[in-house]
Amino acid sequence: MTVGLNEFLAISGLLFAIGFTGVLLRRNTLVIYMCLEIMLSAAILALVGFSRFNNTMDGNIFVFFIITVAAAEVAVGLAIIVALFRHRQTIQVEDLNTLKN
């Protein structure tokens, strides 16, 4: 048998679900952030898969941009998380509830 589009989609769907679940369940902001990146990777995988099985390059090119954007996002995100940690000494979500109601 061959590895077809469906396998790609299954895995990317799985990644997406894993990422989403992690985002929902983990308490540590950094880990949540990683899970978000996993969701992005899921989308990337889907794009690559489609791009390959639809014989078009757009998907692959798009992936470059996504990677760049993700990198920038990570840079900013890490900066924020680090700065917050230096003020609060914690990045557990349940401790970050000054803003409410």
């Binding site: 048998m1 061959t2 590895v3 090119i61 470059f64 990677i67 760049t68 990198a71 920038a72 990570v74 840079a75 890490l78 900066a79 680090v82 230096r86």
Partner: protein, 124 residues
Amino acid sequence: MELVEYFPILVQILLAFVLAVVILTVSQIFGQKIRRSLTKDSAYECGIPSEGKSHTRFSVKFYVTAMLFILFDIEVVFLYPWALAFRDFLAAGIPILLPVLFFIGVIVLGLFYEMKKGALEWEK
């Protein structure tokens, strides 16, 4: 492609697994038995018990450098397809040089900027 072509990978995984199991069991069988107790298992059998976190926090400068590295590292991504297509495009007379030069120029400007900001000076 045929799943068969993945066979070597399968073999390798199996090998790694088997090897680990074998070594552990063998050592369990032939290694000398020791009486285990809490004191024996603790880090120091004598002297004061260890205190404090095992890992220490390190300077935020690492984060800064790491982020900058990520950014500049990723920008390179765009140069690969460019390099691949460069020759053909140039031959076909498609403007390809100047746009990339502009792109790199912007990145260089960013580099100067962060130098000016002193993000790269380790000692301060």
